[in-house]
Symmetry: C2
Subunit: 317 residues, 2 copies
């Protein structure tokens, strides 16, 4: 288990470790969106990943890094959705018990998926304090190992493998890669993979205006909370951690905010033009590129589509 | 231009001809759906094809097979949607003018896409006679070459390339491939590709109960119309042609019918579990496998997902 900021070697090792359990998701292109942006876009389709989101990577790497002794007592986490599925899925892969704490207002499709992997769900109120308290209770009772959704180096290392594949699968060098930022697990992993495997590639983040903590933190140089939280991008509500923030501060070029309207418009393009079911959080990166077309004109841009776990009964269009 | 039933060589030549213009669409798998069917399913994702449907293949092959003289007068066709887009797209690729006759009740998303490729649209009433009459008028006025949506050997040969890729991209030999049947262009092409490139693979068709002409024709050994036409699978309303029927009769093992309810349930699985935007016609093959699980148990089955051009404002769930 690595003890510090993930190295090139630890990302390579993580990739070998998780590869048998995950899809090498396709990198897709769209002539229509290229024309719209006057750029060349490469979409890394992690909505087509196991569990419908990139989080399968981090969950697997964290759990596959545990000892047999630790696995025996099970695994626990709290999550509004995709990380919950990731941990439930990864635990099932290694035959360990998963105890998942989910906010009571989680989308039904995510709750059912977690149940489908055989995990035990405990519901709680949707505040960081309540989630934390419930997880602590489970740990006291069972001795389960807590897997943080993002502030965990094994999770960050696992998420880094998505950008590593993107870099490997696009023949030409990318000018930029953009990923959404919530707690920063994917973003910090993406920034490290670009740094190690494609040093000429700049990394950007897309963030909802209604959960704009990372951009504030990035500018003020300390972890800040969002001034208000109100966005359709329900996967990006959390703020940065003490492990993700320093990596982001060092290796990310800029954080670009987008409105919910812009997120929904980008989502619609992905559904209508690319035939991909993408959740709002997964459309934030494209929204940020569409909003800043001039800045990215003529560039080759990798866009990480993070997930597709959306309630079909509650679509914004 | 070939004059008879497509040969192995003509399908190989067509594949080389269209390849620079199309996506080699991914073959995807789903653990969830494999478990549900107790089979191993390989989904050929032609919803991710250019124009959002396999019809780009047939349209391209037909148009790329025309002489410069013919291209000068333009191309015309009638279609409820995907073939219209295919011809408009292929015409744009070779710089020819496209005159497209569309039923006035065509989905808006399809009309807009055809316009987007620069084609000239003429609307008509949605009867075979009216479509035919309008196309004949265009031919008289312009000298354009008519590209039939399915009863055309170059179109059939183009559609055959989808199954050819599927066969090439699945490491193990397939026990079966299933495609939906409307006019039979894709189905006859699929049957020929299996015959030439994977002779041990049986080919099945899925057909909506509400447009069940092919199954009737298959049993009675002559081209029949459906007893009634009423289905959500709006891409499969037509009946077989004198070029597609003999191929289907010779090389297809069986035609399996499904209800609209079964089509919508399969569509929901594809959206929710595989994160793919698939139109109702595109879900018919999976619906047929789900309905006949026992028959296909333990088999390796290629499923052609034909298209994803659906009006997001009019979803059945």
């Amino acid at each position: 288990m690595s003890a510090g900021i993930p190295t090139k070697e630890s990302i390579e090792a993580a990739h070998k470790l998780v590869m048998p359990y995950i899809h090498r998701t396709p990198v897709m292109t769209s002539q229509f969106l290229d024309n719209l942006c006057s750029a060349k876009l490469f979409f890394k389709c992690e909505n087509l990943q196991k569990i419908g989101a990139f989080k399968a990577r981090g969950g697997l790497n964290a759990i596959l890094s545990l000892s047999e002794e630790q696995l025996k007592n099970g695994i626990t986490t709290h999550s509004s959705g995709n990380h919950a599925q990731a941990v439930a899925f990864a635990a099932a892969m290694v035959g360990a018990k998963a105890y998942i704490v989910m906010p009571e207002n989680s989308p039904l499709v995510k709750i059912n998926a977690v149940k489908g992997y055989g995990a035990e769900i405990t519901f709680c109120k949707n505040t960081p304090e309540e989630r934390e308290r419930t997880v602590q209770e489970i740990i006291r009772e069972t001795g389960a190992t807590f897997i943080h959704p993002f502030n965990n180096y094994e999770v960050i290392t696992g998420q880094a493998t998505a950008a590593k594949e993107l870099i490997e699968d696009v023949a030409e060098p990318l000018d930029a890669i953009i990923a959404p930022v919530g707690g920063g697990g994917l973003l910090s992993g993406t920034a490290l993979s670009a740094h190690y495997f494609s040093p000429g590639t700049k990394v950007y983040a897309g963030e909802p205006e209604g959960a704009a903590d990372a951009v504030l933190s990035f500018r003020s140089d300390k972890i800040e909370k969002a001034p208000y939280v109100n966005t359709i991008a329900d996967g990006l509500l959390t703020y940065l951690g003490d492990k993700t923030f320093p990596i982001i501060k060092t290796y990310v070029t800029d954080i670009l905010t987008v409105s919910d309207e812009e997120i929904i418009a980008a989502m619609r393009y992905l559904w209508e033009r690319m035939k991909l079911v993408v959740e709002p959080s997964g459309a934030v990166s494209l929204a940020a590129i569409l909003k800043n077309k001039e800045q990215f004109q003529g560039q080759k841009i990798g866009i990480i589509i993070t997930g597709g776990n959306v309630d079909l009964g509650k679509l914004p269009f």
